[in-house]
Symmetry: C2
DNA sequence: TGGTCGCCTGAAACCGGTTTCCGTTAACCG
DNA sequence: CGGTTAACGGAAACCGGTTTCAGGCGACCA
């Protein structure tokens, strides 16, 4: 119960002042004499009054909330994303609404509904239809994370192509592996799509024929284990397995070690993301570091800016740099960090 | 912009009716003649009017939102939890607010602030102070997930003790391992605390001296790798490593295999949760299956009930059953499922 | 002492919906 | 044909805040 019945009018009555004065005191706006302020604060203190969020939001025409939309939660990537977003939103006194569209047929509708409850939304690339994205952008500021938006919708993403090209060329040239496979589903997300494209382009740039198609699995460790099962059983075993993220790579690694294969001697494995565990496994995983938390934090900042200062709402694309991390799983001798890349 | 300027009064003017009629039509409440309904629907359709959520919420005295509070996101456990919660909230047209308290000093304050923006909150056990929990429960219905609440705060948790006792006895008796260690921090969460207590109790029940203290690490795969480093290097190597969750266990497994140890011949490893990957690694992981998604879904249902029908708000504890899953990592020959327990 | 200015204050309008309450009208019945 | 009733629609109150606007009052100045 507590402060159920307490309204600004009730406090005004108790303090013997007008509601306007109570509002001024509780917000610190306008001029209020010391005597009035004391009386109001006393009444507020005594009865434990806290202004109702809905009333305040209605008057302000602002929800004080930000939305985050993602396809489904799997693995450290999304948890980092959420935490990065949240860490930026909370200090601005904005609460965070989440929406998992995964496996729901009416996600477009759900997202538009969310648009009516928040001041701005970050949408993970590839999550909803472009039409829904545009409609959403008509009602609130929107930022696409890890992908690019249609029209003038701004976006924040990592430089997938640069580092994936470097990684692929590293395997093809330095380690002279000409029989690589790619594990990950390019249809699944813009990120994977870019990585696959860069993987192909790097092959062409050094004159090696790439595989015709990727091993299209989703992004979890279990999928990596299954892919390993399929890949490493076959007789013409690939020399290197380039995975769309670290989770798949760890699954492949576990699968390979479980079959008695040596990494990197028998097969090379690489990941993407540089999750904390990548440096700790044996052999340590060669991968690409991308600033996932920072990606989401930047998205939150863009939205908060667009909300509070609509006149300078950006509509450009932010591309954060990534970094190739060479470790033992690709055949390199020890931990070393190759040059960064990207914007 | 779209429906920016559109209010119920504007639609009423355009349709030539009163605001009450517009409200009745758009909500399907009360009696409205066919002619009026047609005129109103036409105006709504033509201008794309959607009632404002804030105005509606203010009038209804209900936010249409549920809160979920957790310490920090790490691993599949929390992602399952979130998705379970969300899957139950969304069909009830409630949006989900999240709050990571991790590493923030003012979490109690943040949680109380959240309490003013939602209709009910689920709090993961051990996340905030009991005082804050009680104050929160004064303003909105609260359910503790994976833990027990103070006072009359209801809770939903899994039967940790039953299955952990079975697992420990299984290792001590069936496999005759008398030198077990426990990896996980009982201070970290009520779940781990219960599991550690059951681990100790099982030792006593069969007359074996348990280890004096757990290896207190947090719950991520990287922590397991580090724990393995510490445990398996020492000369009096433990015969079995009982981990507080699957992620730690996978880390220990990777660490052990990386050091050239054989599992289960050289060391036995067990987990908790039965994450998807547990069945796929080699050797497959002996663990305890707990219904994480269902845990969160049940919490969401309890809250939704308490919100819509306060008179029959529960204040009891729900304990969901868990199930011992014996696989190869404990030395058992093949996949087999031992009897369930709990509830 | 009269006028002006600036600081405080409160009444009322406003944000965008829902709901109560009452008057009108048509239908139905005796 | 008069009377009762049910169906319908609109004016206004309400949800709980913020903000505008006008007026009161004391201080300062001439």
């Amino acid at each position: 119960m507590g402060n159920s019945r307490l309204t600004v009018r009730e406090i005004a009555r108790l303090a013997g002042v007008s509601v306007a004065t109570v509002s001024r005191v509780s917000n610190g706006t306008g001029q209020v004499s010391e005597e009035m302020r004391r009386r109001v604060l006393e009444a507020i203190e005594k009865h434990g009054y806290r202004p109702d969020h809905l009333g305040r939001a209605l008057a302000a025409g602002r929800h004080g909330a930000l939305g985050l939309v993602f396809p489904g939660l799997s693995g450290p990537y999304f948890t980092e994303l959420i935490q990065g977003f949240e860490s930026e939103a909370v200090p601005s006194r904005a609460s965070v609404h989440i929406l998992c569209t995964h496996l729901r047929s009416d996600s477009d509708q759900q997202v538009l509904e969310m648009g009516r409850r928040v001041d701005g939304v970050a949408v993970i690339g590839g999550t909803i239809s472009e039409l829904a994205l545009l409609r959403l952008a008509e009602m609130v500021p929107v930022v696409v994370v890890a992908g690019t938006g249609p029209g003038a919708v701004p976006s924040v993403r990592a430089d997938n192509a640069g580092s994936m090209a470097m990684l692929t060329r590293h395997l093809l040239v330095e380690h002279e592996l000409t029989d690589l496979v790619f594990v990950g589903n390019p249809e699944g997300s813009p990120d994977v799509s870019e990585r696959w494209a860069a993987f192909l382009a790097a092959h062409r740039s050094v004159g090696v024929t790439p595989p015709a198609a990727p091993i299209a699995v989703s992004m979890q460790q279990a999928d990596g284990v299954l892919a390993a099962e399929q890949l490493l059983r076959g007789d013409p075993r690939p020399a290197g397995v380039v995975c769309a993220n670290d989770e798949i790579a760890l699954g492949v690694l576990v699968g390979a070690l479980g079959r008695g294969l040596r990494v990197p001697q028998d097969v090379v494995i690489t990941g993407f993301d540089d999750a904390p565990v990548a440096a700790l496994v044996n052999p340590a995983l060669t991968t690409v570091r991308q600033p996932v938390r920072e990606l989401a934090a930047e998205a939150a900042r863009l939205i908060l800016t667009a909300v509070s200062e609509p006149e300078r709402a950006s509509s450009g694309d932010v591309v954060l740099p990534t970094e190739l991390v060479l470790r033992r799983s690709c055949g390199c001798p020890a931990n070393l960090t190759a040059g960064g890349s990207g914007s």
